[in-house]
């Protein structure tokens, strides 16, 4: 297969950057998107040019390292898959493919297609944890967990923190990411204890990092490679309102819209 690639090239964080057009021929339909980019990079290296920098690690869809905004969609056209799980057979022969980095003020470009996603880590640091050691695996039924809660918590825990929700959102909002983390912990007894403080702190951190606000377009749900459900954002909203409007003691911190 042959492809025309329009790729965002940017030397470093300060560089202005721009789209550069490349041609790749003899691409196997069974090669992954990254193998195709590896092929392009081989071409560039043999010509003495700087290869395209992009994030990747496990290449099996579980680590959350890969990104890329491909033809107007995070992780490309395949539903419920990361870029590393995307194969070239998903494209037409001769197609022009746009490859851009995640775009969000809170995700500055480091180089080419690599962005700094540590803003998501800062949200986690603000409350996405359990403060005490919750111990080893307890005996069955010593800590009762309703089955629907266990299922929903597990589904939310599938979030790999790749940032596709931010990239897809017209407002660059990480609500699906935060919703998944809130749900994952709040639905289980060990995480429930700190749920109120967690939601207040994580929302405050999210608002302070320059992300946009959720306007319920649901683009995130459509693009999430782990198919995290919008109900997690609803739960985040519910937990946030409850934590703000009902509390045992007066809490400090701002009030968001």
């Amino acid at each position: 297969m042959k492809f025309t690639l329009k790729i965002w090239r940017q030397k470093n964080a300060e560089d202005k950057g721009g789209m550069v057009t490349y041609q790749v021929d003899t691409v196997s339909p069974d090669s992954s998107f990254f193998e195709m980019l590896d092929q392009l990079n081989q071409q560039l290296i043999s010509k003495g040019e700087d290869p395209v920098a992009f994030d990747h690690d496990c290449r099996e869809g579980i680590c959350g390292t890969c990104s890329l905004y491909i033809n107007g969609r995070p992780h490309g056209p395949l539903k419920g898959a990361t870029t590393c799980q995307l194969h070239m057979r998903a494209f037409r022969d001769g197609e022009t493919i746009y490859v851009e980095p995640w775009r969000c003020g809170a995700f500055p470009v480091v180089k080419d297609l690599i962005v700094d996603r540590s803003a998501l880590d800062k949200i986690i640091q603000a409350g996405g944890y359990i403060s005490v050691n919750s111990g080893g695996v307890p005996d069955a039924n010593t800590i009762p967990v309703p089955k629907p809660n266990a299922d929903s918590a597990f589904d939310a825990a599938a979030c790999i923190g790749c940032g596709a929700c931010v990239a897809a959102c017209p407002n660059a909002s990480p609500m699906l990411f935060v919703g998944a983390k809130i749900s994952h912990l709040a639905l289980l007894p060990q995480g429930r204890i700190e749920a109120e403080r967690r939601v207040r702190q994580m929302v405050a951190a999210m608002d302070s990092l320059g992300f946009g606000f959720c306007s319920n377009t649901y683009a995130c749900e459509a693009e999430c490679p782990k198919e995290i459900k919008i109900a997690n954002i609803t739960r985040l909203n519910r937990e946030f309102l409850a934590a703000k409007l009902a509390a045992e003691k007066e809490q400090t911190g701002g009030f968001a819209i």
């Binding site: 329009k6 965002w8 789209m19 905004y69 033809n71 107007g72 969609r73 995070p74 056209p77 746009y98 851009e100 775009r103 969000c104 003020g105 809170a106 897809a168 017209p170 407002n171 660059a172 909002s173 320059g210 992300f211 946009g212 606000f213 959720c214 306007s215 319920n216 377009t217 649901y218 683009a219 459509a222 693009e223 919008i230 109900a231 954002i233 609803t234 739960r235 985040l236 909203n237 519910r238 937990e239 946030f240 309102l241 409850a242 819209i257």
Partner: protein, 205 residues
């Protein structure tokens, strides 16, 4: 923004109820009586202030959130987004702006005349909303603007109720689909109801 929006949903239903009296074949008697009640009753006068507050809050929050949302992506994508979204949800600011323009026009045509800021056209009393409405709807250009504005409002409302439920954290496997359907139905009733009035005046007079 969600709470102010939900408040405005109630106002729209009341306003539509009164406006539909324009369709009654009684020379505007029922409509004028209802308009007179709304214009003079002390409780309604107080609620009018709450209504202006509701509009102000909804518009102010909408603008603040939109500005922040635009700023959050300083460098935009080269390729247009192909992500699937809830219908019209991406265009709430655009549809909202069109509705706001209509609201300004509506104020000039009715409210400012009522409070005496603008003098009414010759032959029409300051509180004679029926004759004013009939005169305006006899102009096809005005009717066209009116129809377009309410079509756009319908798109705005289609997302409104269900987005408000989402923002307020309401989610249920059975009720969420119902709320979405109710949201679409409400949008159709409001848009269709208001649009029926100029259609009746332009087509059947």
């Amino acid at each position: 923004m969600a709470l102010a929006g939900v408040f405005l949903l109630v106002f729209l239903a009341v306003h539509l109820g009164i406006n539909l009296l324009l369709l009654a074949d009684d020379g505007g008697k029922a409509f004028s009586a209802a308009a007179g009640f709304m214009g003079t009753h002390p409780v309604i006068r107080i609620f009018e202030l709450a209504l202006f507050g509701g509009f102000a809050l909804h518009i102010a929050f909408g603008v603040i959130v939109s500005i922040r949302n635009r700023k959050s992506r300083p460098i935009r994508y080269q390729h247009r987004s192909l992500s699937e979204t809830s219908p019209f949800s991406k265009y709430m600011m655009h549809t909202g702006m069109i509705v706001l323009l209509f609201l300004v026009l509506h104020f000039i045509d009715f409210y400012f005349i009522k409070i005496g800021v603008v003098s009414p056209p010759p032959g029409i009393g300051r509180h004679d909303f029926y004759s004013r409405a009939v005169a305006l709807f006899s102009d096809p250009a005005y009717s066209a603007i009116y129809l377009f504005s309410f079509l756009v409002l319908g798109f705005h409302l289609n997302h409104a109720l269900q987005a408000a439920a989402q923002t307020l954290g309401l989610n249920h496997p059975r009720f969420t689909p119902l709320i979405k359907a109710a949201s679409a139905l409400y949008a159709m009733i409001i848009a269709g109801g208001f649009m029926a009035i100029p259609l009746r005046f332009t087509l059947f007079n």
